[in-house]
Symmetry: C2
Subunit: 355 residues, 2 copies
C-alpha cells in the first residue's frame, strides 16, 4: 500500500508543476504531497552557490573558507591506512527512503559501526559524482558517503567513503547500487522522494571490513564544513556498471567539492586570496565579454603576458628537444605555449601524412 | 624505422631511471633520448600547484584570479548554439606524436577549421578528465580540446571541445580514441612521448559539422588563463568505452579546473576572497589536525555553528514534512543537518526491516 501510494506521488512530483498546482498539496487528491516534499539544500556547485562562496551563504559556514583540515583531499603517501578494520552492522531492509536533496541523492538507513572501541550510528548514505577524494591524484567516477554519528551523543562523526570504478565489461556492479537506484528516475526533481528496492549490505560490509581503508581526520565536504570528522576511504574501489553510473550522473549532475589543500596547510580560499593580491587586483582585459557571443571571434587578451609566453615554462625537464634523425620528426623549433603546455615546437610537422 | 626506434625509447623512458642513467642521454646508446623528453607543465591540480593558486605561479597568470570571462563554465540557457557549423579539414595520418605533459596527454596534429569566415589552424588536441564544461550542470567523463590558432597570425584562438559519454554496453566508442590511446601505457610517466596509431578523423569531423555546438567567448582553462578564446562545445556527446576511459584516467589522473562563474560575473577567486573576509579570517577550530591520525576519533569543531545547526536550512522548499499514514514512514521530527542536508528527520525510522 505504502509503496504504491508513494510511487504515484513521486511520479507526479517529478513532473514540473505549474505554481497553481501547489494549491492541490494537502488536498484529498494528494494526501501525501507535503510528506513527499524534501527540503533541498541552499548551497550548490555552480557560481555563487558553489564551493568558493559557501562561507558567505551562512555564518556557520566560516570553516569552509578558513579551516586547515578540510575534505576532500588527495590521498597521498602521508595518509596512513586504518590500524584496524571497523566492525559494521547494517540490517538488510525491504525498502528505505530515497531522497533528492538537490545537492545529492540520499538513502535513510540504520546501522552501527564500531571504530576504535566507539560505536557510531549510521544515519544515511549519499552519492558524490565524480568522487570527492582522489587517490594518488586519480579520481573515481562515484563515491558514496556513509554518514555516522557517535552513539554516545557526543557529536563526533565518522564517514565511510566507498569509491567505485567502472567495470571494463560495462556490466559488473555492486548489487546494492542496483537496488538503491531502482527508482532513481522517480526522484529526478530536487525535493522529491521515493523508496529503494530491497537492500542487502553483505557485499559492501565485507568490502569495508576486509580491504584496506585510508583513515584521516578531515571535515564535512559540504556546508558547514565542520572539522574533526573521521574519514575512512576504501583503497580498493567497488565495481560500477555504466548504466548505474549514467543514471546517477543524470540526476546528481555534479557534486564534487574541489580538492582541498594538504591537511594542516592553509585553506585554499586563503591561498586564492593571496594569489589575487599578488595579481594586483588588476582586471584582465575588459572582463566584460558578453555571454552568448556567437559571431565575433575575439583575440585572446592575456593580462601581463601573452598566451604564447615562455614564462610558464617548466623547469622539471629543462632540456631542449634537439632530436635528429627522421626528418619528419625533427624537433628543432621555438618554445611555444598553448593552453599552458610549453614545448619546443617542431618546425617540421611532427606527424606523418596518411598515404 | 622511426616507429620501432621511438617505441623502444619510450619503453625505456617510462621505466623510472636512476639519476645516473641521465648521463647516458645523448650517447650512441640512447641517441634520441633528449628528443623523447617533453617539457612538463609547472602547474597542476593539487594544493599550491592547483587552480586556486595558478595566479601566484607566474606574473602572466593574473587573469586566472581576476578575469570575469573564464572557462570552463556551466553551459546554461544563456549560452547560444553556434549560428553556423564550422568547416573542419583534418588530414588522416599514419601516426602522430603523443606526449605526456604532466597535466594532460596531447596529440600533435594538423588541420584547418573555418569559422565565421576565418581560418584557424589546428595545432594539437588533448584530454581532460572529468570534463571541464558542464551542460545544464551535468559533467561528462571525458572532454577533448582541439586547439586552434588563427591562420592569419593575429593570435586569435579557438577550441573545439568534444564531450564524451560512456556507452551503456561498455564497448561502443569513438574509433579515433582507440587509435590515439593504442600506446598510452608507454607515456604513463610525465615528460615522455610516443606515437599514436593511424588516425582517421571522419567520424569526429562529421560529428562537429552536423550536430549542435554551444559557442561562447571564454578563456584558456589552464595558465595563463588568457581571455578572448572562442569555445565550440558539442551539445551531443560522442561515445566512449570503459576500457579507454579507465586507461586515460589512470594516466591523466584528474585535470579539470573547477567550474568558473557565469560570464561577466566576478572571478570566483575574488568571490572567495570576499567570502573569507565575511568569515572574519577567524581560524576554525585549532586548524592543526595532524595528518595520518589513525587512532583518535575527533569530534567535529564547527566554527560559528554546530554541524546540526538549522541555519543552513533551505528556503526553496519550506514546507515541513508532516506526512501521515503508514506508521513506519511517518515524517514528524526535528530538523537535522548532516553533511549539509537539512531535513525533517522522522522519529519513526524511515526504512522497513527485512523480514
Amino acid at each position: 500500500m505504502y509503496t504504491q501510494q508513494l510511487v504515484f506521488i513521486a511520479a507526479v512530483l517529478t513532473t514540473p508543476l505549474p505554481s497553481s498546482a501547489n494549491c492541490m498539496y494537502g488536498t484529498s487528491l494528494f494526501p501525501r504531497a507535503e510528506g513527499a516534499a524534501v527540503e533541498v539544500s541552499n548551497f550548490g556547485y555552480v557560481g555563487l552557490q558553489g564551493p568558493l562562496n559557501w562561507a558567505a551563504l551562512a555564518a556557520e559556514n566560516s570553516a569552509c573558507a578558513t579551516s586547515k583540515a578540510q575534505s576532500p583531499i588527495n590521498i597521498d603517501s602521508t595518509i596512513q591506512l586504518a590500524a584496524e578494520a571497523p566492525k559494521v552492522v547494517i540490517p538488510d531492509v525491504e525498502a528505505a527512503e530515497f531522497e533528492n536533496l538537490g545537492t545529492t541523492v540520499e538513502v535513510i538507513v540504520n546501522g552501527t559501526t564500531t571504530l576504535g572501541g566507539e560505536d557510531f550510528s549510521l544515519k544515511q548514505f549519499h552519492f558524490h559524482t565524480p568522487s570527492e577524494h582522489r587517490v594518488a591524484e586519480e579520481y573515481f567516477p562515484l563515491e558514496i558517503h556513509m554518514v555516522h554519528e557517535a552513539a554516545d551523543g557526543s557529536g563526533a562523526m565518522a564517514v565511510i567513503a566507498l569509491t567505485f570504478q567502472l567495470s571494463e565489461d560495462g556490466k559488473t556492479t555492486t548489487e546494492l547500487l542496483t537496488a538503491v537506484t531502482e527508482n532513481l528516475a522517480k526522484i529526478a526533481a530536487p525535493g522529491t522522494l521515493t523508496e529503494t528496492g530491497p537492500l542487502k549490505f553483505a557485499e559492501v560490509i565485507n568490502h569495508v571490513q576486509t580491504t584496506p581503508l585510508f583513515q584521516y581526520t578531515g571535515s564535512l565536504t559540504t556546508p558547514p564544513c565542520a572539522e574533526g570528522l573521521t574519514f575512512l576511504v576504501t583503497k580498493k574501489p567497488l565495481p560500477l556498471s555504466v548504466k548505474t553510473y549514467n543514471e546517477i550522473k543524470a540526476v546528481v549532475k555534479f557534486n564534487s567539492r574541489y580538492t582541498q589543500n594538504s591537511l594542516g596547510q592553509g585553506n585554499l580560499i586563503s591561498v586564492g586570496a593571496t594569489s589575487l593580491a599578488s595579481a594586483g587586483d588588476a582586471p584582465a582585459g575588459n572582463g566584460t565579454v558578453a555571454p552568448g557571443n556567437v559571431t565575433g571571434i575575439a583575440k585572446p587578451k592575456p593580462s601581463g603576458g601573452a598566451a604564447t609566453a615562455t614564462g610558464a615554462k617548466a623547469t622539471a625537464t629543462s632540456k631542449s628537444a634537439t632530436a635528429t634523425g627522421d626528418a619528419e620528426v625533427k624537433v628543432e623549433g621555438e618554445h611555444h605555449c598553448i593552453l599552458g603546455s610549453c614545448r619546443e615546437v617542431a618546425k617540421a610537422k611532427r606527424f606523418r601524412l596518411r598515404k
